[in-house]
Symmetry: C2
């Protein structure tokens, strides 16, 4: 496959999955001490990747209160549900993102417990982490690392609250995930190669997702197509699509559907029915087409954000090639002051 080192990919995902005993020990200690609520605190991609965790929590737990907040806004607003009894969950590739550092410092100094996944070793974030979970990752595989961490972490909290008895089964299945993700990439690679050729000069895409995949639709639009390819997008929730954005759809409008396997799948069918009546440029990424090391629909739902990220990464790679626009080029971010 183009622009991917599968040995390296395997190492990255396996090392992230191998953080499990550390995560379990941290969560068990926190549960023993007690806590009031959980804050997922992120920005951009790390905020986006916390939204599926919120969806999963709200469809599973009646006992755990959690919030997903944007770091800079959290700092400015003075969130009244936050206290020293809160558990604060971060992830950062670089370990030096300003907004994340500021929020982690604030939370730690307020006496709350901070848990941080970081890719880069011995970076400034270490100073503000009560619990640090480090494994190597780069942008094209970061999501796998973040999800390995946050799925394990949240599953453990829910297990300890008596709300997720299938914990052992889930993590056992997840430990076998890596080769399945690689096969998913191989399965979608030719499709993405063709798609990238077709998309080469398309300057606007709608990306639609719902349920546990909404955060991924938001992320792919903003962090990949906009940030890394400078292509205009509208990410729109499968339900909200019908309250405005649908009016824009024409025969040649590119609409990309992120189909998952959660309770909201029928809501994606509604979008699909509509857009296929109007547009000839509808693209589907469907996690259901991918083989996984478990068949329990609940587990497939839980890892579906990881699966959609893994397969759409193939589109990003081919787009960069076809458009002669490397995924790492930025004209403004970290280039100029604001």
């Amino acid at each position: 496959m183009y622009d991917i080192d599968l040995n390296h990919y395997t190492e990255v995902v396996d090392k992230a999955l191998a953080l499990r005993p550390q995560i379990e020990a941290a969560v068990d200690k926190i549960c023993e001490e007690g806590y009031s609520n959980i804050f997922f605190i992120g920005c951009g991609g790390t905020y986006a990747h916390s939204l599926p965790m919120m969806y999963w929590l709200e469809t599973t737990s009646s006992r755990i209160n959690a919030y997903s907040v944007i770091a800079a806004e959290f700092m400015a607003m003075g969130h009244k549900k936050f206290s020293k009894d809160s558990v604060c969950v971060f992830s950062t590739r670089s370990g030096n993102t300003k907004e994340i550092l500021a929020a982690a410092k604030f939370c730690k100094e307020a006496g709350a417990r901070t848990l941080v996944y970081v890719s880069n070793e011995n970076t400034p974030i270490y100073e503000f982490a009560d619990y640090i979970f480090q494994s190597p990752a780069e942008d094209p595989n970061l999501c796998e690392a973040i999800y390995s961490y946050s799925i394990t972490l949240l599953a453990r909290f829910m297990k300890n609250a008596g709300e997720f008895p299938k914990y052992d089964e889930l993590v056992e299945g997840m430990s076998k995930l890596t080769p399945y993700l690689i096969r998913a990439k191989e399965q979608y690679d030719p499709f993405c190669q063709d798609l990238a050729k077709k998309f080469k000069d398309v300057n606007y895409h709608m990306i639609v997702g719902g349920g546990i995949l909404w955060g991924e639709a938001y992320d792919y639009a903003m962090c990949i197509l906009e940030e890394m390819q400078w292509i205009k997008t509208k990410s729109i929730h499968a339900c909200e699509f019908f309250h405005g954005t649908l009016e824009l759809v024409e025969e040649d409008t590119s609409v990309i559907l992120f189909y998952g396997e959660d309770e909201t799948r029928p809501l994606m069918d509604r979008v699909s029915n509509f857009v296929n009546k109007v547009s000839k440029e509808v693209t589907v990424f469907d996690t259901k087409t991918v083989e996984l090391p478990f068949t329990d629909p609940e587990f497939r739902k839980i890892v579906s954000p990881m699966v959609i990220y893994t397969i759409t990464e193939r589109l990003s790679a081919h787009l960069a090639k076809e458009r002669n626009h490397p995924l790492t080029t930025r004209r403004y971010y970290r280039q100029i002051e604001y």
Copy 2:
């Protein structure tokens, strides 16, 4: 002013504000009975207009748990925080929006208490409302009615929880609001007329907002520019702007800033600093420029979503005229089956 009947506008806003005693009685009764949490349940505009209420709540109350959910997703997902002890808050202009009817029916049948603001009398939603609050409104003034209702309602819940002692002062000030909103419209009308001429052929706008105005940025992009004018948009949160969307900004990119008066205002300054370095097409709507019947910064923050809606309504009206595209024209919504 173009396309607005000020007598009618005054009647609409005053009648909405006059619902206060009914709202107070309902909330007081519910607080006496007890409740576990509050669900704001909406879709499109009514979902968007609940987001400011969530921001206000999270910056004010440590005791009340609330959720803002999209009606169709709420129904599909099975939200584990919802129970018969929940309070369910709806608003609907038509009184017959399918998704709202289905959710209100479900909530009422589950034994939860349902509160509904509706513009159209004796519509199907009445059947599923434990408490109905009706006052006339149409799209261009609906937001004033919805906010009069939801601000009063949430303020009363927080007062009763001992977390909003300034309640009487707020509602006293709000009862004088109508002429100030009209003056705000008059103040922004010439600016919006010029802007509409300039925007006539612009086919893409970024709309940036944060804090209590994020929902309004989302709404103006989707429900006005996309739905009513068929113009492409990206609504983007003031903090999230820097994690992708900024890379798209060029000299001629239209960026519309919704400036409010909450804790996140400095985060808008950061966006403004950046976009003014790159684009020559930056537009600012700032609630701070508008006179209001109170000076307490907290009250100004609370009504700022209403103020931004009121002044941007002038842009919508002039855009419709300049573009010869009535705000009521739909090609798909409620026109075809999906």
